[in-house]
C-alpha cells in the first residue's frame, strides 16, 4: 500500500538552528508532493508543493524542500528557525494515477526554543 513516512515525530531546536525534516514515500509512479503546516490552534496551511521541474522548491516563510526521486524523498529544510516556526508539519503525497487521494504522513511536531 502507498504510504508516507516522516522520520521524526518530535523535534526540539533552539532559535537560529537549521532544520531538516525527513519524508519518504512508497509509490513507484509519478507523484505530486506537499508540505503542510499546522500552527497551534490554527488550520492546515500549504507550505510548499512540487509537481515537476526544479527539484528544489521554495515555499513560504523561508522553507524549502528537495525532491530526490531515486530516494523517494521530499525533505523539508530551513536554514535558521524562529520561535514562530513552532508547529506540526505534515508531508503529503498525491499519486497521479489511482485517483485523487492525498496521503499524509504522521506529522512532525517542531518546538523551537526562544
Amino acid at each position: 500500500a502507498q504510504s508516507v513516512s516522516q522520520h521524526n515525530h518530535h523535534v526540539i531546536l533552539s532559535e537560529a538552528a537549521s532544520l531538516e525534516l525527513g519524508c519518504n514515500y512508497s509509490y513507484g509512479g509519478t507523484v505530486n508532493l506537499f508540505w503542510y503546516v499546522q500552527y497551534p490552534g490554527q488550520h492546515l496551511q500549504l507550505l510548499l508543493k512540487y509537481f515537476s521541474g526544479d527539484p528544489l522548491v521554495k515555499g513560504i516563510k523561508g522553507f524549502e524542500a528537495e525532491f530526490i526521486k531515486s530516494k523517494f524523498s521530499f525533505n523539508l529544510r530551513k536554514p535558521s528557525v524562529q520561535w514562530s516556526d513552532t508547529a506540526e508539519y505534515f508531508c503529503a503525497v498525491n499519486p497521479l494515477k489511482g485517483g485523487f487521494k492525498t496521503i499524509f504522513g504522521a506529522g512532525t511536531r517542531l518546538f523551537v526554543k526562544a
Partner: protein
C-alpha cells in the same frame, strides 16, 4: 487558493446523538473531501464527495455512520451518526483546486 469555512467550529455531544457539519467554499469545486484528525495523529480520509454522485468512502468508513451530502459545487455536509466517545476528533473539510488540497479550519468534536 480556496477559502473554506466550517460550522460548527466545535461541539460537545452526548453519545447516541448525531451531528451535522457544514462546509462552505468560496468558489465552485468539483472535488471535496472529508478527513478526520484524531488527537495526536495524522489525517485520515473519510470520503470523497463529488457533486452529482454518491460519496466514495474509504476502508473503515460507511455511509450509515458518516452520511454525506453534496447538493452543489460550493457546499457539503458530513453527519456523524450515533456518536460514541471514539468519534471524538477534528473533522476537516478539504477541496482540491489546481491539483492542490486546501483545508477548512476543522470542527472539533467531543463526545461524552
Amino acid at each position: 487558493s480556496a477559502v473554506i469555512s466550517q460550522k460548527p467550529s466545535r461541539d460537545i455531544c452526548q453519545r447516541g446523538t448525531s451531528l451535522t457539519i457544514q462546509c462552505q467554499v468560496d468558489s465552485q469545486v468539483t472535488m471535496m473531501f472529508w478527513y478526520r484528525q484524531q488527537p495526536g495523529q495524522s489525517l485520515t480520509l473519510i470520503a470523497t464527495a463529488n457533486q452529482g454522485s454518491e460519496a466514495t468512502y474509504e476502508s473503515g468508513f460507511v455511509i450509515d455512520k458518516f452520511p454525506i451530502s453534496r447538493p452543489n459545487l460550493t457546499f457539503s455536509t458530513l453527519t456523524v451518526s450515533n456518536m460514541s466517545p471514539e468519534d471524538s476528533s477534528i473533522y476537516l473539510c478539504s477541496v482540491r483546486l489546481d491539483e492542490t488540497q486546501y483545508f477548512g479550519p476543522g470542527t472539533r468534536l467531543l463526545v461524552l
